[in-house]
Amino acid sequence: MRRAAIGALAAVVVSAPWLVAALVPRQQRYVLHVLVFTALFAALALSYDLVVGHVGSLSLAHPAFFGVGAYTAALLATRAGWPFLGALIGAALAAGVVAALVGVPLFRLTEHAFAVGTLGLALVASVVANNWVEVTRGPLCITEIPKPVLGVPGGPALAITTLPGHYWLALAALAAVVLLYRGLTTFRLGRAFHAVRDNEPLAGAAGIDPLKYRLLAFTIAATVAGGVGALYVHYLSVMCPEEMTVALTVNLLVIVFLGGVGSLRGVLVGAVLFTALPEVLRLAPTWRLVIYGTLLLLVVVRSPEGLESLLRRAAR
């Protein structure tokens, strides 16, 4: 029953471009665009949840890693002429290396101070993106980033030019992130993550070094965020400093905390709700942030497990 339901859902998700073409032919492009965004945000939110939900470190630096990946990919593709897969791997590695480097001093901070330190990092990253004009072109943005071409040099190549193509690419990336998320959070490693989250002194006493596992989750999450950044710029073909502001942090917090911290299903539901809904309602960004903030406040105060707990209760 459960397996059948998941299979049906997967079939609907994979065949979404045709369904959209059949159901809403007039707004086909717009709906597909929202779907691409939803898939990319879901992947980004899952990587964020690895840190927030599974090792319990409230990092607010995720936009910085997303931005490092996005800018690396944009620069590699436009200035160095790297192929898509090379730029993608380069972007993910760059974000991961940055995270490992800044993670060492940041994890000397505990709890609140860690959160503030990471928010400071996000702010510095955004200041750099705006002001390091020789590299990032600042507010002029990096433009004309080529569309992704899948394939190895010398072999057959598949250019992604259509919207359905972008959708399937984003979906494949999301599927890869889902598998990675499951793999990291279920087995021995996942139990170590949860031990660190739930009782740090006890985990330490049991020989599970909290710092090591936190840094590992932080670096992996940043690597994924960097990869998502690369996909994002290759889809939009432009990268601006506004893509990595505090507004992105708020988006991720809303998706993860309203969806359900530390829960695959919760984060996916959150990503669908809070990426698609504001697009459909066509909210102005300021109003969206006011509503998001109020919702976040109400939900963390009233029901900290997020919508996931409501879903679970409804399922019973």
Binding site: G56, L58, P105, L106, R108, L109, E111, H112, A113, A115, V116, G117, L119, G120, L121, L123, V124, V127, V128, N130, N131, V246, V250, L253, F257, T286, W287, L289, V290, Y292, G293, T294, L296, L297, V300, V301, P304
Partner: protein, 292 residues
């Protein structure tokens, strides 16, 4: 201008910045010490205080001293309302919940301010900010002198308040052991409320003092919260005088770096200082184990 006069001017500029950061950071440190709470919406107290001052001074045409007293009074009330609505609900909860709730409040306040007041910066020049004191080629606006003198008086008063008065002693006691305070009959709720009112008032005083020198805009609070928090962390977690000292260090470094190194990156200085201090002394510059 001679290089020496230029350096002196930048130092004074840094002291003004430091005074502003210190008034915001002192409030943050008080809340952290007494209630074990990080208020991410603290910079928004400053922002709202600045707009209250702008409303009183520029729009209603009140004289400077009255407008400068009105804004803190408004923000004290705002602090009390905030304590009653948001803080009371999250105080018993985990720090995750507290942090996200206050961050959410900050976002709501910033964006409501954008909707109501627009993104166009407001300028509130006063007679004191336009009048310049000139001593041997060295120039300083009277408003900056006012900021420095007022800051000295305020920090002295705050120190006396925390050290001597009954409420101040209760605040220090609560920063050491909240449960024991409740057991021996300290009115924990009232002291928390006083702390919030005082912190909000301090942020608004800073706003009325420096607004004539800088522009007022809706999202100035976020960066200010972060810098003030960097000062709190660098000064020793929740230790008020340490936070004040670190704020001045950040203000002066920022002014000098902004003038001699790079203006564009001056906002990053506070975090560089914070990280450097934490690598060198993880407990902060003046860190102790307990207490405000």
């Amino acid at each position: 201008m001679t290089p020496i006069a230029d350096l002196l001017e930048q130092l004074l500029h840094g002291l003004t910045l430091g005074a502003m950061y210190a008034m915001v950071a002192a409030g943050l440190a008080l809340m952290l010490g007494v209630a074990r709470l990080i208020n991410f919406a603290h910079g928004e107290f400053f922002m709202l205080g600045a707009y209250a001052f702008w409303l009183g001074y520029s729009e209603l045409g009140l004289p400077y001293p009255i407008a400068a007293l009105l804004a803190p009074a408004v923000m004290v009330i705002f602090g009390i309302v905030y304590q009653h609505t948001v803080i009371r609900a999250i105080l018993p909860r985990s720090w995750h919940v507290q942090l996200i709730a206050t961050l959410a409040t900050s976002i709501v306040l910033t964006n409501l301010a954008i909707i109501v007041l627009g993104t166009q910066p407001k300028e509130v020049p006063t007679t004191l900010s336009a009048r310049i004191l000139e001593v041997g080629g060295f120039r300083i606006a009277w408003q900056r002198l006012l900021v420095l003198v007022a800051a000295l008086v305020i920090f002295w008063g705050l120190d006396r308040f925390v050290a001597r008065t009954r409420t101040g002693r209760a605040m220090r006691a609560m920063s050491q052991n909240r449960e024991a305070c409740a057991v021996v009959g300290v009115d924990v709720q009232r002291v928390t409320l006083v702390t919030f009112a005082l912190s909000a008032g301090l942020a608004a005083v800073a706003a009325t003092l420096v607004s004539p020198l800088f522009n007022i805009f809706p999202d100035m609070g976020t960066v200010l919260t972060l810098k003030a928090f960097a000062a709190v962390v660098a000064g020793g977690f929740g230790y008020v005088n340490g936070a004040i000292a670190a704020s001045f260090l950040i203000g002066i470094t920022e002014a000098l770096a902004g003038s001699y190194i790079s203006y564009a990156y001056k906002d990053a200085i506070a975090f560089v200082i914070m990280i450097a201090v934490l690598l060198w002394r993880p407990q902060g510059l003046f860190g102790r184990r307990i207490g405000i």
